[in-house]
Structures are given as structure tokens and as C-alpha cells.
């Protein structure tokens, strides 16, 4: 079958379903498109190393995720390592330029880390248990193709929006407000270069935009699923 024909069929199907699709159907389609609940549930951890590009500068990073909500990110600049981590309860950071001792994060940062940590399962799995409320806003265009916009209200009553592509059912965008050095910045995070990682589709590139302008792009150089990650990576360091 001709590629364009297949594409047209997908579009026609999408346009029909645009009238009637429910939030549950979108969520199920997304979970299936990512590889299915079984595969997602079997993914226990991710170790990623990659490059952060902004304004012509490239900064290597490493991130570690473990289910349910453990997260660590390391940036290395000229040998100086900056760490941000969350073990499911405590968020903390370590910055040699702030004296070199780990510091627990204040509330705003903690909330942000929490929302960044649930990468493997995401908003659509065990919704109630996580305290999320989802609401289908409707179809909207994302970069030239239709996606479903879903409003996510978390336990803390913070809201963000995710967009599920109507053709591939992958999550292609997330709009949220980030707190950077005390300033709120509304950003769009665009997901692309999806790759199969242990049976799960994950975006190898995330572009961060503000009002449509590219602020930063993060892409993987390598990804390692299901390696054993020490709790020490995530836990606030003992003195």
C-alpha cells in the first residue's frame, strides 16, 4: 500500500474519531502506542546520557529514573558536577558553587521535581492513585498535525497540559509552567525521535520552547534500561 494512501486512511480515521473519542480511549491508545501496559510496567529504570544544547553551547548530562518516582540529573561543566535528585519524598541538589554540600529543595522546586520524576509511567498510568485529575480539552494542532489536548491537575492542584498525537497516539507535547530562579516561565516541551527502549517508545529528543522560540534541546547519546540503580543515587546524601 502506498505510504500516502496509508497516511490518508489514518487521517480519515482520525477525523472520524475526532468527533467522538473519549479520554479513556485516548489514554488506552497512548499506552498501547508506547508498547502496552505490560512493557511499561516491566521498565523499572532508565539511565540516560545525553547532550543539552542551548545558544550554541553543549552541556553533557546524565539522568537516572527509577519507578515510581525517583529521579536524578547530573550536569557536568568543565569538571564541575551539579546534581538534582528526588527519591520520591525529598528533593535535593548539590552545587559546588554553593559550598559543595547537598541542600534540600524548597517547596516550589520540590513540586517541580515531583512532576519531572514520573517519566516512565507518566500521567496516564494509575491516575487516581497518583492523585491526578485528567480532562479532555479537545483536538488541537501541534506542529502541523492534530493532537488531543488533555488538562492534568495534580495532587497539589497544579495544572499542566499534555498533547497526544491523533495519528500515532504518542505524547508529542507538554505545556507547563517552570520556576527558574524564582521566575515563572511557561514552556512547551516537544517530544520527538521516538525510539524503542525495551519495548517502550521513548522520545530521544525533547525541545523546550517558550512562546514558540526554541530555548533548549535535550537529546540522548545513550540509554540503558533496567540497570540496577543504587538507592544512593536518589537519596539525600548522609553526612
Amino acid at each position: 500500500m502506498n505510504k500516502l494512501f496509508a497516511f490518508a486512511l489514518i487521517l480519515v480515521v482520525a477525523s472520524v474519531s475526532a468527533q467522538s473519542i473519549t479520554l479513556d480511549e485516548i489514554i488506552n491508545n497512548n499506552i498501547e502506542a508506547r508498547g502496552g501496559l505490560g512493557k511499561i510496567k516491566s521498565l523499572k529504570s532508565l539511565s540516560i546520557s545525553g547532550t543539552m544544547s542551548m545558544q550554541g553551547m553543549e552541556i553533557p548530562f546524565s539522568t537516572f529514573y527509577a519507578t515510581r518516582s525517583k529521579y536524578r540529573m547530573e550536569l557536568t561543566v568543565q569538571g564541575m558536577k551539579i546534581v538534582q535528585a528526588y527519591d520520591g519524598v525529598t528533593a535535593w541538589s548539590l552545587n559546588p558553587m554553593r559550598g559543595g554540600a547537598a541542600e534540600k529543595s524548597a517547596d516550589a522546586e520540590l513540586k517541580q521535581m515531583k512532576s519531572q520524576s514520573d517519566v516512565i509511567e507518566g500521567e496516564f498510568i494509575e491516575i487516581a492513585e497518583k492523585g491526578n485529575t485528567l480532562e479532555l480539552v479537545g483536538p488541537e494542532d501541534v506542529d502541523g498535525a492534530t493532537a488531543y489536548k488533555i488538562k492534568v491537575t495534580d495532587k497539589e492542584m497544579e495544572t499542566h497540559f499534555v498533547f497526544v498525537d491523533a495519528a500515532t497516539w504518542l505524547m508529542v507535547r507538554c505545556d507547563k509552567s517552570l520556576n527558574l530562579m524564582g521566575q515563572n516561565l511557561d514552556v512547551e516541551m516537544l517530544y520527538s525521535n521516538f525510539k524503542d527502549v525495551a519495548g517502550v517508545q521513548l522520545p530521544a529528543q525533547i525541545d523546550i520552547r517558550h512562546n514558540g522560540d526554541e530555548l533548549m534541546s535535550m537529546s540522548w547519546d545513550s540509554i540503558n534500561p533496567n540497570s540496577t540503580l543504587s538507592e544512593d543515587l536518589f537519596a539525600f546524601p548522609k553526612k
Binding site: 502506498n2 550554541g56 561543566v77 559546588p96 558553587m97 559543595g100 506542529d143 491523533a166 529528543q205 526554541e214
Partner: protein, 1028 residues
């Protein structure tokens, strides 16, 4: 949109075989990477229709602009965010649910019914502070004047629908919902000419509803307020039934009425009633009877424009009234004093803090002001870019300036871009009054032509600020010139030495306005029934020149021939001459499908063909909201419509691109549209251009920017429309279609602004970073897509992340090489080496690799000539910066070897069972390595350690040479020599330690059967560092 795409594809499929090389059709969503920028200004505000401040938290405020959208602040106006970008930008009325401040009702369409007013498209509601909106009906209402929420039941809401201004309409009157807007019931309706202008609920008993009906009508040549449909009504049963209020009030020939009810004593009501004797009336018995208490200017001036009353929530005798100024009474309306003396005139909306009556917010033609001392002093909130431009022009300065005139806010000039961003103080005031056309002289740019309403025209030298009045004189004491409110001033396109201005005649000057020659007879219909502006206003005489009619409204000189002139009039004549004005032909009769007397809003002669021109017509003042857009290719003998159903809104302006004839831009009341096929199809341009009224547009002939005059969002610029030219002239068949890219210009960035907080608006400057543009046939979602850049010698210098949108994408070409390897310090960063040297000049190759497909393009890197450095000076800088680059890398490798060795020795020292001699030897090697490391990089923890080792010195020197494109200083050269020798010594020392004491330690370890220290060679170390 999806549907349309599917249909298009089905049509394609029905031909049986699908051409896999089908051309990509652009939709509005596929212009992704091409975005507009807003440059403000906010030095003057624009007109504001309404404000909603949350009584429970006054830091939360919503501001509804007359043409500039809805803005939200959560910090008492320090910053504002636009929260209504996907909807019509003319706001009529706001109502916040004070108990749920994220819930806001928004009625669109301004109710302050001046000649230049914009329009809306119904009622909206948000429950999440503006993140998402529901449309709740009244699509054809055009304007909504007031919304009242029942404070005891937020599901119950009353909406005063004023309705159409220029025509009869039945979608008007007072409406009510009891289910949050799902269903509506019309409660009050008097006739098809009258709308509801105000509605207020009694704060103590919301079942008492007061509403004002108003009969009004505007045409292009008249305004009338008052009639049998007007009146004040009262309901005591939540709107089930209404009784007219007649006791003590004028009952026949009533005009606009403003209302409020005291919160502290709900028996006290005030009504400002326009009539043959306009006055403020007061009732002390909840509206049963009324007494006239005041008929001064605070009550009687321009009721159609100023019609809000607010009773101080704490004191029934304190009442505030909008007007030319803001007025406040403390004696129940008997006397009024002027407050907010420093504010712009023409107040439209007020809020008084219920907990602190001294705290007042007022909204004017010139923005929003706040006072904490009952209006004795006021602060201007200068972060709202809602200025209402009528027209815009540009000059040829570098960077070019924009010029334009605004509703009630004068004429201005400003650079379109500045490295630090565009602040309010960068806008230069040129002249006062209402501003319209502002034009800089083509030969003497310090001379600027500008005007205020009614053809009052000046030439100002902006250096000396001296202004010369250059209005063409009346022909005689009996025969007066008739100038439109928005009088056209135009400079010649074939001969820019020609200056034109239009009354009912066309006037031409070739000496900068010092003298004028009238080069036409009356070009208008000169219809005496439409020349009665002196009697306008209805009940209240209003002759501001706003209703001057039968006038010239648009003028264009052909770019091919100064003798070919085009003139459009506000009463529908389309006149042209081919002999410099000796003979004129009215060709409007050749335009088919156009109602008679439709305002000619814009004439755009083509630069591509002498006989082609485009015309837009605007019928909204006849109640006709259709888009009229025509093209002729035979100098007006025949016209064809090039409007399509994709366009919404009556048309203000059309421009044809001077380089790509297929590329057209159209500004309507509801935004910007573009055509890539000379008008065969149109798509809205949405990327940062909201549904704002686009009144004028100009394409910069040198810089290729589209500059828009918006009537509510200031000046908006779309940089680099060369990208659209490329889309207009090429078929897109490849999966990755690369657009030929203009040269990348090497520049050194300027310094940013200072720490002034966020309360002043900052306009966006041009992104001057070089970009590579390409079109993707589909969004790239799965698999790999990479972009690599090769230097002129074919060496790969960088990989950059690809942008993955369907449609138009761009990626920035970094103008610098990757940063040098820099010695590692665990405690600090060396800022000087964050970036690499500027790219050498030459042609670079860009390779796109997308899931196995390869595409490539080229980009030339050049240097901006404005810096003035010679080739030799630039070569000296390049040579020194690369010397320092390599020196940084040498030090980085040396330091890495020392640090690797330190790691190995530290590990070895910690082993069990080492002999005392081995341990001592280890300690001694460690000490030497550690002391060398400490001399090379910072090792002290902390923020302000003041430590500066060799790495820091070297990085600082490299950074300073790298930050300047010309000849380095002598001291930079001397320091380079000194630091080179220190790096060489360090390298020698490191290699010496690794070569001898460490080798000795290894042989001792071997003798003791201990594992050896693993020290890679220098080459291995370097290779590993470069790999990462």
C-alpha cells in the same frame, strides 16, 4: 482543519493513483518556526474597556482592552500576561467571580461606541484563570456592555448585550443564565435598534435587577444616541419581569444610562441619564423614585463614550463617574471633584477596593492607573502593550525605525530592534492628539510628517522639535476642505519627493508641504445628506470630526510612473489618473459584487506589473462585515475577487510582496492572512499574531520584514519574510525541503539591560542569529533525524538537534566553534571558555540525515562590515584566539593526566598490605601531583573564594580575545606569551612526574605483586576527552 485535510486527500485518492511526489499544501499550522515579534509600545497604553479586580485579592486583576485582548496580572499589575490569544481581541465587559478568582466571564466587542471601535464575537468563560475558554454564545452580538454575576449564586449571570452598532439586529437586550451559560433567556428587549447598556444587581438582594436599554446607531457619517427603545428598568424577581422606572426620570427621548447601587445601603441608587437635559439622578428608595442631583460636565459630556458609575462600597454618598476626567463626589452626587489629574483623559472603567476606598483603579484611552489616596496621585501601569495604531511606515536607518499614529495617543517613532530589547523610553514622541499617518522624509529623515484628527498636518524636525503647520489651505471662506478623521498622507512610490494628502480633493506638494497644488476636482460623491457632522450625536451634540464624510481615505502613487495615481474615498469611489491628475476616472463601477458606497480601505499597486493593483473595501459601517478583496490586471477596467471563505473579518489592508508576486498579505478586523498563490487561497498567520484588527502593513524594502500596525497590540514585526517568498515560488516534493539561506553574519552580541524589575514592558528585538530553514513534509516523530555542519575544509565541526515540525522549521547555526577542552575543576567554572572562536568566513555544508535519507545545503559565513576591522586585524585576532584555544586544550589534557594519576595513586595508597616504603613513595608522589593540580585549577570550595589559578587566568585571557573581532591588544599578546610558557612548564612537570616517579612507583608495585597504576598515554587521554 483536519476535516479539510482529509477531504483534500480523499479527492487525491479518487484519481486512482496517488502521486507520491504530491506537493505539500501549507496550512496555518505549518508555518511553525516563523513567528512574529511584538515591539510594543507600552509607554502609552491603549484604550481599555473594562477591568475586573478580585475583591478578595486585589493583586489579581484582569484588564480588557478595547482592541488589545485580555490581560491577567497576579501581582497587582507588576506584570501582565495575555490570556485570550486565540479569540477576538476587542473586549467589552468582564466579570470575575470574587469567590473563585479563576472564574472570569468575558463579553467581547467594545461598548464605547466611537467611530474607530472594533468588534467582538460573543461571550466566553474560563474557570482556570484563562488557560482554557468556553464559548457561550452571542456570536453575532458584536458588542457586550456589562456582565453581572449573582454574588449568592455564581451559576446565575446577567449579560447586557448592546449588539450591533451599525445595523439593526435582534441579538441584543438583557439575557440571563441560571446554569453557568448552558442556556439563556432574553429578559429585556425593546427594538432592533436598542441594546442593553448596563445591568446591576442589588448587593444585598440580588433578585433586584436594574437594567438600562439604549437606542443608538452609527454610520460612517453620523452618530445618534437616544430614542424610544431607551430606558431604565427594574425587576424585583430576578428578571422574571421588569417595570420601567419613570418616577422623576425623563421618559421620552432618553439616551445612554449608567447605573450603580450602593453596597452599604442598597436603597441608594444612582443613574446617569442622557436626555435633552442630561443629569445624574439619585434614588433613596431602591429605584421607586428619582431626583436629579447634578447636571454638570461630569454628567453630561459624551455619554456614549463615558458611562460608568461606581458607588463607594463603604459609603453611599461617595460616587465616582467616568468622563473626560475621573470625577468623585462625597455628597451624594451634588458636587464632583476631578481626581486622577495626572492620568490620560477619557476614563471608561473604575474599580474601588471594597476594603480600602482610597484604593482606586481607573482605565482610560491611554491605559490603566492606580491610586492609593482617592485619586490624588496615581501610578501608571506601564507594562500593557495595547496601543492602537492606525498606520505604520518605516525608514532606511540601520536599524530601521517604525513610525505610526495611535488612537488618542499621538504620533511616535522607534527603532524596530535594539540589542538590549525595546524599552518604553526608546519610543520618541513626535506629535499629539489622535495620531494616524506618520511619514519620515526620504531624503531628510529628521523631518517627519504627521497629523492629528481632521487633517491637521505638521512637519517636525525631530532633532530640534520645531514643528511647522503644513495643512493645505481652504479654497475660500465659503468652500472648506473636508478631511477625514484619519486623513491620508502618502509619499510617492515612483518619486518619493512627492507628498500627497487627501481632503475631498487630492493635494500634492513637491516642497515638503510648504506649498500645495490641488490636482483633482472633488473625488467623492459629495452627497449632502452625508455632510451633517456638525449636527451629529443625537441627544448630545458631538462634532469631533470623527463623522466627516465624503473624503479621500487612501492614496497611492504607482511605483512605475508618478503620473499614475490611485485614490479611494470613504463613500466608495475608486479614482485613478494616468496623467498626474489632469483627468480622473472612477472605476468602482467595474467592481462586481460590491455594494454601493463601500469604503475603499486600501489600494496596493503592484511593483511587478504596471497595470495590476489590489483593492480592499470595508463595509462594516454599513453593517456589512464581508471581506471585499479585488485584483485588476488592466488598470481597473475589470476586477476579480480574490477573497476566499478562509478569511474572516472586513478588510483593512492588502500588500503584495515586492519580490515574490505570489505572496500577498491581508489585514482584516480579525487578524493577518497570507496567500502563497497570489490570492487563490489564504491562510491565517497565527504565530504570535492574535485576532487583532490589522489596520496597516508595510514591507521593509531592505530588511524584508513585514511590519504591522495593529489597533490594540501595538506594532508587530515578522522578520525575514524571504522564507515565505521561498515557499511561494517552489513546489515542495522532498521529505526535507531546504530553503536557500541568506549568509550568516558574524557579530559579537551586545550587552543586555539592567536590573529594573519586570514592571516595564520590553519589546522583542530581532533574533539575528543565523538560521537554516527547511520544510518537513511530515512531522518527524520516530527514528533518527540529525543535522551536522561541515566547515569549508570538509571537517565536521558540530552536530545540532533537528527541529521536527510538519511544515516550516528552522535551526540556529551556531556562529562559534564548540568550546575548547577546559581543565577540570570540581569547584568552579571558567566562564571565558564557555564558547569557541567565531567560525572562519567561508561556505559551510549542512547535512540532514533523516531515517536513512540524506539532504544537504550550504550557508555562507560573512562578517558584518559595520565593525570596520580590516582583514589583517581580524586575521590577527583569529590567530591569537586559536593559539589560546589550543593552549587551553593543552592545559586541559595536562590537568586530566595529573587528575587521572592522582586518582590512581589515591586508590593505590588505600590498598591493604602495602609496605611502609611503598606507602611513603605513594604519599610523596601524591603530594607532588596534588600540589601541581592545585597550581593549575581552583580547588577551594565556596562561591566567593577569590582563587584564580592558571586555568582561570588562561580562560579569562582567551575569553577577552574571543569577545572582540579586531586586533588584540599588546598586553593580550604579552600575556599569551607568559601563559604559554607557564602551560609548557606545567606540561613538562606533569610528564616528568608521570614519566619518572610514577614509573618508579609502578615498578615497586610490580615488585610487591600489586596491581599496576593505569596511566594512559597523553594521546589516549586526549582521545578519550575528545570522544565525550
Amino acid at each position: 482543519m483536519l476535516k479539510r485535510t482529509s477531504i483534500a486527500l480523499l479527492i487525491l485518492l479518487s484519481f486512482g493513483s496517488v502521486n507520491s511526489l504530491a506537493q505539500l499544501t501549507f496550512t496555518q499550522y505549518m508555518l511553525g518556526a516563523l513567528r512574529a515579534r511584538h515591539i510594543g509600545p507600552a509607554v502609552m497604553g491603549g484604550r481599555i474597556s473594562d477591568v475586573a479586580v478580585c475583591n478578595t485579592n486585589p493583586a489579581r486583576m484582569y484588564v480588557g482592552a478595547a482592541g488589545g485582548g485580555l490581560w491577567k496580572s497576579t501581582n497587582a499589575g507588576v506584570t501582565f500576561t495575555p490570556v485570550f490569544e486565540d479569540h477576538p481581541q476587542s473586549i467589552g465587559a468582564l466579570a470575575v467571580d470574587h469567590e473563585h478568582p479563576d472564574t472570569l466571564w468575558v463579553g467581547t466587542g467594545e461598548p464605547w461606541t466611537r467611530n474607530s471601535v472594533s468588534m467582538g464575537k460573543g461571550l466566553y468563560r474560563t474557570v482556570d484563570g484563562g488557560k482554557t475558554w468556553s464559548m457561550l454564545g452571542f456570536e453575532k452580538s458584536e458588542r457586550i456592555a456589562r456582565i453581572a454575576i449573582n454574588p449568592k449564586n455564581p451559576a446565575e449571570v446577567y449579560v447586557a448585550v448592546l449588539g450591533a452598532l451599525f445595523s439593526d439586529s435582534e441579538e441584543r437586550g438583557l439575557y440571563k443564565t441560571s446554569d453557568f451559560g448552558k442556556t439563556w433567556k432574553r429578559l429585556l428587549y425593546t427594538n432592533e435598534k436598542s441594546g442593553c447598556a448596563d445591568v446591576v444587581l442589588s448587593p444585598s438582594d440580588p433578585s433586584i435587577v436594574m437594567a438600562a436599554m439604549w437606542q443608538m446607531r452609527r454610520t460612517a457619517w453620523s452618530f445618534s444616541s437616544g430614542g424610544e427603545g431607551s430606558g431604565l428598568f427594574k425587576s424585583t424577581n430576578s428578571g422574571e419581569s421588569f417595570e420601567p422606572c419613570v418616577n422623576g426620570l425623563p421618559i421620552t427621548n432618553v439616551g445612554r444610562i449608567a447605573l450603580d447601587i450602593s453596597a452599604s445601603n442598597s436603597n441608594v441608587m444612582y443613574a446617569n441619564v442622557e436626555s435633552e437635559k442630561t443629569a445624574l439622578y439619585k434614588s433613596d428608595n431602591a429605584g421607586e423614585s428619582w431626583t436629579s442631583v447634578f447636571d454638570g460636565v461630569a454628567s453630561s459630556l459624551r455619554p456614549f463614550y463615558f458611562s460608568r458609575l461606581v458607588v463607594d462600597p463603604q459609603n453611599a454618598d461617595v460616587v465616582l463617574k467616568t468622563g473626560l476626567n475621573l470625577y468623585r463626589s462625597e455628597d451624594g452626587g451634588k458636587t464632583f471633584e476631578t481626581i486622577f489629574g495626572s492620568a490620560h483623559s477619557d476614563h471608561h472603567a473604575i474599580w474601588v477596593d471594597p476594603k480600602n476606598s482610597a484604593h482606586i483603579v481607573s482605565c482610560t484611552d491611554g491605559g490603566i492607573y492606580e491610586s492609593y489616596d482617592k485619586g490624588k496621585s496615581a501610578r501608571f501601569l506601564n507594562s500593557l502593550p495595547i496601543s492602537q495604531f492606525y498606520h505604520v511606515t518605516v525608514d532606511m536607518a540601520e536599524p530601521y525605525n517604525v513610525y505610526g499614529g495611535l488612537q488618542d495617543n499621538g504620533s511616535w517613532k522607534c527603532p524596530n530592534t535594539l540589542n538590549r530589547g525595546i524599552g518604553n523610553s526608546d519610543w520618541l514622541f513626535v506629535g499629539g492628539g489622535d495620531g494616524f499617518h506618520v511619514v519620515s522624509d526620504f531624503k531628510k529623515p529628521e523631518l517627519v510628517y504627521w497629523e492629528y484628527q481632521g487633517g491637521n498636518m505638521f512637519r517636525t524636525n525631530i532633532r530640534t522639535e520645531e514643528a511647522k503647520s503644513i495643512r493645505p489651505p481652504d479654497p475660500s471662506a465659503k468652500e472648506k476642505l473636508r478631511f477625514n478623521w484619519n486623513t491620508p498622507i502618502a509619499m510617492g512610490r515612483a518619486n518619493p519627493g512627492n507628498l500627497y494628502v487627501g481632503s475631498q480633493f487630492l493635494h500634492k506638494s513637491t516642497d515638503r508641504g510648504d506649498s500645495w497644488k490641488t490636482i483633482s476636482s472633488d473625488l467623492t460623491t459629495n452627497d449632502s445628506s452625508k455632510l451633517k457632522q456638525a449636527d451629529g450625536g443625537g441627544l448630545t451634540l458631538d462634532n469631533s470630526s470623527a463623522e466627516n464624510h465624503c473624503t479621500v481615505i487612501t492614496i497611492s502613487e504607482s511605483p512605475f510612473d508618478e503620473k499614475i495615481l490611485f485614490v479611494g474615498t470613504d463613500d466608495g469611489n475608486l479614482q485613478l489618473t494616468t496623467n498626474g491628475g489632469t483627468n480622473w476616472t472612477n472605476v468602482v463601477g467595474n467592481v462586481t459584487g460590491l455594494p454601493k458606497n463601500t469604503w475603499v480601505s486600501c489600494i496596493e499597486p503592484s511593483v511587478h506589473d504596471r497595470k495590476t493593483f489590489f483593492v480592499t473595501f470595508d463595509g462594516h459601517m454599513h453593517g456589512d462585515m464581508a471581506t471585499y478583496l479585488y485584483k485588476t490586471t488592466d488598470l481597473g477596467k475589470t476586477f476579480s475577487s480574490i477573497a476566499s471563505t478562509d478569511i474572516v473579518g472586513y478588510a483593512h489592508v492588502i500588500r503584495q510582496d515586492p519580490k515574490a508576486k505570489q505572496l500577498l498579505f491581508l489585514g482584516t478586523e480579525f487578524g493577518l492572512y497570507l496567500s502563497l498563490d497570489e490570492g487563490a487561497s489564504w491562510l491565517p498567520f497565527k504565530n504570535e499574531v492574535p485576532q487583532v484588527s490589522i489596520r496597516d502593513a508595510v514591507i521593509h524594502p531592505r530588511d524584508n520584514d513585514l511590519v504591522l500596525a495593529t489597533h490594540g497590540r501595538g506594532v508587530i514585526v515578522i522578520d525575514n519574510i524571504e522564507i515565505l517568498r521561498a515557499l511561494a515560488s517552489v513546489e515542495i516534493v522532498n521529505n526535507v525541503h531546504i530553503i536557500p539561506t541568506k549568509p550568516a553574519v558574524r557579530r559579537i552580541g551586545g550587552m543586555g539591560g539592567w536590573f529594573q524589575g519586570e514592571n516595564e514592558y520590553q519589546g522583542n528585538s530581532e533574533d539575528r542569529s543565523p538560521r537554516v530553514w527547511y520544510v518537513l513534509k511530515d512531522r518527524h516523530l520516530k527514528g533518527s533525524f540529525s543535522v551536522t555542519i561541515q566547515d569549508p575544509q570538509g571537517k565536521t565541526i558540530r552536530k545540532v538537534p533537528a527541529s521536527t515540525r510538519k511544515g516550516l522549521n528552522s535551526i540556529e547555526l551556531p556562529l562559534r566553534m564548540p568550546a575548547p577542552l577546559t581543565a577540570s575543576s570540581e569547584v568552579s567554572m571558567a566562564g571565558g571558555t564557555f564558547t569557541g572562536p567565531l567560525l572562519q568566513e567561508g561556505v559551510y555544508t549542512i547535512h540532514f540525515d533523516k531515517n536513512g535519507e540524506h539532504f544537504q545545503s550550504e550557508i555562507k559565513v560573512v562578517t558584518d562590515t559595520m565593525y570596520g576591522h580590516t582583514v589583517q586585524e581580524r586575521a590577527l585576532q583569529q590567530s591569537l584566539v586559536w593559539e589560546l584555544y589550543n593552549l587551553n586544550e593543552e592545559l586541559a589534557i595536562t590537568t586530566k593526566r595529573i587528575q587521572d594519576a592522582l586518582g590512581e595513586v589515591t586508590e593505590a595508597k588505600s590498598r591493604q598490605g602495602l609496605s611502609k616504603e611503598l606507602l611513603t613513595a605513594g604519599e610523596s608522589v601524591f603530594a607532588v601531583l596534588d600540589s601541581l593540580n592545585k597550581a593549575l585549577v581552583n580547588t577551594k570550595l565556596g562561591f566567593v573564594t577569590g582563587e584564580e589559578q592558571l586555568r582561570e587566568e588562561l580562560a579569562e585571557l582567551y575569553g577577552s580575545v574571543n569577545g572582540y573581532m579586531g586586533k588584540p591588544t599588546e598586553s593580550q599578546q604579552v600575556r599569551t606569551a607568559a601563559l604559554t610558557s607557564r602551560v609548557r612548564i606545567a606540561t613538562e612537570q606533569a610528564e616528568q612526574i608521570i614519566g619518572e616517579p610514577l614509573a618508579k612507583l609502578n615498578s615497586d608495585l610490580q615488585a610487591a605483586n600489586q596491581p599496576l597504576l593505569q596511566i594512559p598515554t597523553r594521546e589516549q587521554t586526549e582521545a578519550r576527552m575528545r570522544k565525550h
